[in-house]
């Protein structure tokens, strides 16, 4: 009897077979089948085929493997991990449909390793397994970036891996210090505070908040996600940051620092998004902003806050993939997602526009869309604990989110008050309303359906959350206040719409503080250090030449013998004195 099959392992190892399938149709079917296989295992697990899942936070433990003097808990199945796993495989299925047109099989392999390792991380019950899965997770997007093939993407790939190695080292150092102090490798709630006693916890926290793109460590996300391949970036939106949120929920729920960092992050990213000219970079800033809600919810630590963070993570995966797909459609069809070059695409891509708008309404938190049922829960959690500043920051972020994803992006890509796109873009479009590839529209359509379905019928999500949900999202107060807020946000946008137009510019972010000294260091290595090296080289050569000249002189033996004896005595005396010094 098989105790359990790890869906992550099935997807990860199954992915390696993709390039070796010779028949294109079978290959595509197999690629879609991998997440379906994962989903089947999860459904069987939920139905109790492998044992009953106990109420949160208790868990079902499978696959215990001895490692050194420890036991690795590779499969810890609880309500939270199964919830994240479900959404990972469902999102992966939609993303695979979207990516069906990709010709490079190895891109599919990288994506499947990414999905599989993310599943490995959410089912990890010990810190070593978690670290191992997080490390694999950091490499898969590196390849998704490299496969774009541009010089910019290559630079972004190396920066990505540097950031994630840094966070990985922090997590590993934290794990080792924690292990040394507590003797436990269990992936569970960590003690947190200031001072040396909590160094291990703080290092782990630092690693997780870098992975979660929390301000001020958020810039790796906006820098790199927009440089990946169109379908690669869709995968990247879902897994790394949400797994970091999962880790934060498990280890650092109730840490007040996180509540403040999250609230600040949710607003800060929006200021950057106002200035952004690239559709995918704008969506990246919205990932950062939305993660702010989750981090704040984790920081609040109440049952409602945790439920809000978990449910928002799940809803976010769905609508954000949809947003990236929408912006990616423009990139695939007309070759750019830059606002200054677009506008007036509606006539030629109306279905992509409306599907994108479902994502835009969802992320903004419109009633009857899935963002509403999760975001409102986190905001109300801040109201319940009587934190007016946190509440205002999160509510303000809602306004900004609608401004950008619901208004600025669709206005700049599809509308801009024009009926026709600029001539260079128009020449790339057919005289048809169906310029977007059908497989992309199907992928987007499924996600759009999920956004509305979860928004209309939140019970399906609420029943899966770790804590029992008593929250009722559709109250007159909440529905009316948010609708009125959006109606007037539109008015503000309309007054200032000329200010949010795209210009061919680049917005410097906090990574400037790292990239500039890094650049200067390379410059130092390339110019003064190399010059110093060649100067030293020359001097040594001069000494050597002098030495050779003296060796060739006829009476050298008479001059060198006393010198050599003297030198030998000196070295012996030095060694003797060092030995005596050490001995004493």
């Amino acid at each position: 009897m098989i105790s359990w099959i790890h869906p992550g392992l099935v997807i990860c190892l199954g992915g390696f077979l993709i390039p070796f399938i010779p028949w294109p149709k079978v290959k595509k079917a197999y690629f879609l089948l991998l997440p379906v296989a994962g989903l089947t295992i999860l459904v069987l697990t939920s139905m109790g085929t492998f044992g009953t899942i106990p109420p949160w936070p208790a868990a079902l433990h499978k696959w215990n493997v001895p490692f050194l003097q420890y036991t690795l808990d590779i499969a810890r199945i609880n309500k939270l991990s199964i919830l994240f796993a479900y959404i990972y495989v469902i999102a992966a299925f939609c993303m695979n449909i979207y990516a069906l047109g990709v010709k490079n099989d190895w891109e599919h392999v990288a994506a499947m390793i990414y999905v599989g390792s993310a599943l490995g991380a959410v089912f990890a019950g010990d810190l070593f397994t978690l670290f191992f899965c997080l490390e694999i997770m950091s490499w898969a997007p590196f390849f998704l970036l490299l496969f774009r093939g541009t010089k910019k993407a290559m630079g972004a790939a190396f920066r990505y891996i540097l950031w994630h190695h840094f966070s990985g080292i922090c997590i590993l150092a934290g794990i080792l210090i924690h292990l040394n102090l507590s003797g436990s490798i269990e992936f569970a709630h960590m003690p947190w505070g200031w001072g040396g006693k909590y160094l291990g916890s703080n290092l782990m926290l630092l690693g997780f908040i870098i992975n979660a793109a929390t301000t001020p460590f958020h810039s790796w996300l906006s820098d790199t996600y927009s440089e990946a391949t169109p379908s690669g970036s869709v995968y990247m939106t879902a897994f790394t940051t949400k797994t970091a949120i999962f880790c934060l929920i498990v280890t650092f729920s109730g840490v007040p620092l996180l509540m403040w960092l999250g609230a600040i992050q949710s607003v800060f990213a929006l200021f950057m998004a106002v200035l952004e000219n690239d559709g995918r970079r704008l969506c990246s800033y919205h990932i950062i902003s939305q993660i702010g809600y989750m981090v704040a919810g984790v920081g609040m630590g109440t049952e409602m806050g945790i439920n809000g963070a978990a449910s928002h993570a799940l809803c976010h995966i769905v609508y954000n993939a949809l947003l990236y797909m929408g912006a990616g459609c423009a990139l695939v069809v007309v070759g750019t997602a830059k606002f200054n070059r677009l506008g007036g695409l509606y006539k030629y891509m109306p279905i992509a526009f409306w599907l994108y708008m479902v994502g835009g309404f969802s992320i903004s938190g419109f009633p009857l869309f899935n963002g509403f049922i999760s975001k409102a829960m986190t905001i109300e959690a801040a109201e319940f604990i009587q934190r007016p500043i946190i509440y205002l920051l999160l509510e303000g972020a809602t306004v900004g989110t609608f401004l950008h994803t619901g208004l600025k992006l669709p206005w700049n890509i599809w509308l801009q008050g024009r009926e026709e796109p600029p001539p260079d873009i128009r020449s790339k479009l057919n005289d048809s309303a169906l310029n977007t590839p059908v497989h992309m529209l199907i992928g987007m359509g499924i996600l759009a359906f999920l956004c509305i379905f979860m928004g209309v019928y939140p019970k399906i999500l609420y029943d899966m959350l770790p804590y029992p949900v008593e929250y009722v999202p559709f109250t007159v107060t909440r529905v009316f206040s948010i609708t009125q807020m959006f109606v007037f946000t539109f008015l503000g946008f309309w007054f200032l719409r000329k200010l949010v137009r795209g210009y061919p510019t680049y917005v410097l972010d906090t990574d400037w503080l790292v990239r500039m000294p890094g650049g200067l260091f390379i410059k130092f290595c390339k110019v003064p250090l190399i010059a110093f090296g060649s100067y030293l080289d020359k001097q040594i050569m001069k000494v050597a030449e002098t030495f050779i000249v003296s060796i060739r002189s006829p009476n050298i033996e008479a001059r060198l013998t006393p010198m050599a004896i003297g030198f030998g005595v000196l070295v012996s005396l030095l060694l003797l004195s060092v030995f005596l010094f050490l001995k004493i």
Partner: protein
């Protein structure tokens, strides 16, 4: 399905103005009939969410534009910097 159509501009504006007026009236009506249940006293100010949406959005844009003076650079800023290194 394949027929080319422009976006429904006039219908949108009619719907929008209707929403605007209805939201202003409903806010006052429900506020004074005590339908709303907020957690903070400032949320009970008349038209609080309308003002929050309008001024929040405008402030966000204006502050960001102000920040832009310092942080907006040429599109190939980092490429130029790295070319300088080679």
């Amino acid at each position: 399905m394949n027929k080319l159509r422009t976006y429904p501009r006039s219908q949108f504006w009619k719907l929008y103005y209707a929403c605007l007026v209805v939201s202003l009236i409903l806010d006052l009506f429900w506020l004074y009939t005590h339908v709303f249940h907020y957690h903070f006293s400032f949320q009970y100010l008349p038209q609080f969410f309308a003002l929050f949406g309008l001024f929040g959005c405008m402030l966000l844009i204006l502050i960001a534009k102000g920040m832009g003076i310092f942080i907006v650079v040429d599109e190939d800023y980092y490429q130029k910097k790295s070319r300088g290194l080679n």
